[in-house]
C-alpha cells in the first residue's frame, strides 16, 4: 500500500489522475453542500437569469431556463459515477466467472461460452446499448442494464486469455495432482493471478462506462430531464452554438476531466501492478 503510493507519487501523471479522481468523487458526494445553487438539480426555472454567460454569480453560466451549470455538473457527476459503480459491480464478476469457466474447463464449455462472447463482441459496444435502449424505456436503471449487458464479455475475454495460459502452469498442475477440486483451482489458484489485470481494467473502464453512458443520453436514450446528465446537457446546448458556448463546452470538458482522471490513474495502476496492455 505504502509502496503503491510511493510509485504513484513518483509518477506525476498518475498522481494528477489520482488527485483528479479524488476531487471529482468528493465534489459529487458532497454536491448538495458544495453546489452554489443546490436546488438546481431539478425542474427549477429562473427565467430572469436564463442563458447567462459565465460570471461571478454563475461560474459556468446558466442554462436555457436559468439553472446554474456548475451546480448541475456536480449533480451530473453523481449520476455518472453511480452508474459506473453499478455497472462495474456487476459486469466484471459475471465476465470473470464466464472467462474462468471457459479458460479452465476447456472443451465444449469453452466453445459455447466463447462463441457467446464473440456474438456480443461483434456488435459495436455503443450500437448494442443503443439497440437495447431503443426497445426499453429511457431511464437510469435501463441505461445501467444496457451498459452492463454490453460490458461483461470484455472481462470474459480478458480472464479467459489469462486463465488459458495459466492452465498449463506448474502450480495448477500441482494442485490437480494433489486432487484439488476444479472450483478450488479456478477460483483460488487461477483467479488471484487475474486480479491485477481485472483491477486495472476496472479503473480504466470507469472512464469508458461514463463515456458510453453520456453517449446514450447525448442521443436522448439515457437519463431524462430534468435530472442533470453531462451527455444530455451537451446535446441540449449544441443547438445554441456558437453564441451560448458555455451550455456545451463546460459539460463536455466535465466529461473529459473525469475520464482523463480515471485513465491517468489506471495507466499508473498498470505500471504498479505490472499488467501488460
Amino acid at each position: 500500500m505504502i509502496r503503491a503510493f510511493r510509485i504513484l507519487a513518483a509518477n506525476p501523471l498518475s498522481l494528477i489522475g489520482f488527485i483528479l479522481v479524488v476531487l471529482i468523487v468528493f465534489a459529487a458526494v458532497f454536491a448538495p453542500w458544495i453546489a452554489p445553487y443546490p436546488t438546481h438539480n431539478g425542474a427549477v426555472v429562473d427565467f430572469l437569469n436564463n442563458n447567462r454567460p459565465p460570471s461571478a454569480q454563475n461560474w459556468m453560466g446558466t442554462d436555457l431556463v436559468g439553472r446554474d451549470i456548475f451546480s448541475r455538473i456536480l449533480y451530473a457527476y453523481q449520476i455518472s459515477l453511480g452508474l459506473g459503480l453499478v455497472v462495474l459491480a456487476i459486469a466484471p464478476p459475471v465476465g470473470t466467472i464466464v472467462g474462468l469457466l471457459a479458460g479452465y474447463m476447456g472443451g465444449w464449455v469453452e466453445t459455447i461460452l466463447m462463441r457467446l462472447v464473440d456474438v456480443f463482441l461483434s456488435i459495436p459496444p455503443l450500437v448494442l446499448a443503443i439497440a437495447m435502449m431503443g426497445v426499453l424505456e429511457p431511464t437510469l436503471t435501463n441505461a445501467m442494464l444496457a451498459v452492463t449487458v454490453m460490458w461483461w464479455p470484455w472481462y470474459a475475454r480478458l480472464v479467459y486469455s489469462i486463465a488459458r495460459s495459466e492452465r498449463e502452469e506448474g502450480y495448477v498442475l500441482a494442485a490437480e495432482v494433489i486432487g484439488a477440486s476444479s472450483f478450488h483451482i479456478a477460483f483460488r489458484e487461477i483467479l488471484p493471478n487475474c486480479l491485477p489485470a481485472i483491477l486495472t481494467k476496472m479503473t480504466l473502464d470507469m472512464g469508458f462506462v461514463i463515456i458510453i453512458a453520456s453517449s446514450l443520453s447525448f442521443l436522448g436514450l439515457g437519463v431524462q430531464p430534468p435530472t442533470p446528465d453531462l451527455g444530455s446537457m451537451v446535446a441540449e446546448g449544441a443547438r445554441y452554438l456558437p453564441d451560448s458556448w458555455w451550455l456545451t463546452v463546460f459539460p463536455g470538458l466535465a466529461i473529459l476531466l473525469v475520464v482523463f482522471g480515471f485513465n491517468l490513474l489506471g495507466d499508473g495502476l498498470r505500471e504498479i501492478l505490472g499488467v501488460d496492455e
Binding site: 455503443l126 443503443i130 472512464g207 463515456i211 456545451t248 501488460d276
Partner: protein, 342 residues
Amino acid sequence: MSPVLRLLLRRLGISFVVLIGVSMLIFAIARIIPGDPARIALGPNATAEQVERIRAEMHLDEPIPVQYGFFLRDLARGDLGTSLYTNRPVTTDIAQFLPATLELVFLAGLIMVAVGLPLGILAARYRGRWPDHLVRVLSLLTVSAPSFVWAVILMLIFAYYLPFFPIAGRIKDIYEIERVTGFMTIDTALAGNWPAFWNAWHHLVLPAVALSLSGIGQAARLTRANMVETYEKPYIEMAQAYGFFPSRIARTYAFKPSIIPSLTIIGLDFAAMLGNAFLVEAVFAWPGLSRYGVAVILRKDLNAIMGTVLIIALTFLIVNIIVDLLIAFLNPRIRHSTRAAS
C-alpha cells in the same frame, strides 16, 4: 490449399456461426420489449383491426421459436421487413443511408492509421524521453472524451471561430449529383464534377477527424507498447551492433513484427467507430445511418432497429475477416505454414 485460403474459409465459417448468434441476440432484444410490439409501432390511435393486421404480418401470434424461424427465413432471402417509419423495405432504407456512414468511418479509419501508427513509432523510438511522454499524454487525452465532445470542440474552433470548414451536411445543395455508389466523394468524381468533388471532401474532413481522435490515441499507445517489447529482442540489438541507422531499425526491424498485434485492435477500433459515427453524425447533421437509426428507435420501429444493428454487425464481421487476412499475409509464420493457423 494455400494456408491463407484455408484461414479464409475457417474465418468465414466462424463468422457465419457468430452471425446466427447475433441474429438470435437481436431477436431476443426485440422481444424483451414490454407490451405489444404491433400496438407500440402503430401508436395509441390505431384501430383493433390495424393492430391485428400488423400482428399477423409480423407473426406475433406464433410461439417465439416459430417467430424466430420466420425471421431467419426472411433474413436468408435478404428481406429485413418493412420499416413502419418510412413504409419502405428496411434494406432500401439502409442502402440509402449506409454509404454516408461508411464514407465517414473509412476516412476516420485511414486517419487513425496514418496518424496513430507514426505517433506510436515515434514514442517507441524515443521511449522514456519527451516525445514518448507527449504522445502518452496526447493519446490518453484523445481517448478521454466521447467523440461527440470532440465533434463539438472541433466544430466550434474550425467551423465557427475559424471558418475553415463547413458546419454541417455532406455537400452544398447547389450540386446535383447522380447517385451511383452512394459515396459522395466517388459519385462526384464519376460525374466529373470537380467543384462538387472538393466540396464533398471539404465537408468530410472535420467529422472524420472528430471520429478518428480516440482511435488515434489507442493505435498510438498500442503500437508503442508492442514496439517497445520488440526493441528488447536480441535481433534488434544485433542490428544496432551492426551500426544500422536508428530510423532504419525503427521502420524495418522493430515496426513490422509490432504491427501484427496492433492490427487486431485497429479492427476493434473500427467497430467502435461504427457506433461512434452515431454521435458525430448527430453533431454535424451528417445524413448517415445515425439519423435513420435514432428516428426508428424513437418510433420503436422494431424491423428497422433489428435490420440496422444486423447490418452494422455484418460490416464489422467483414472488416474483421479482412484484418485477419491482412495479418495472415503479413505474418510469414501463417503465410508459409503448411497447417492452417488457428
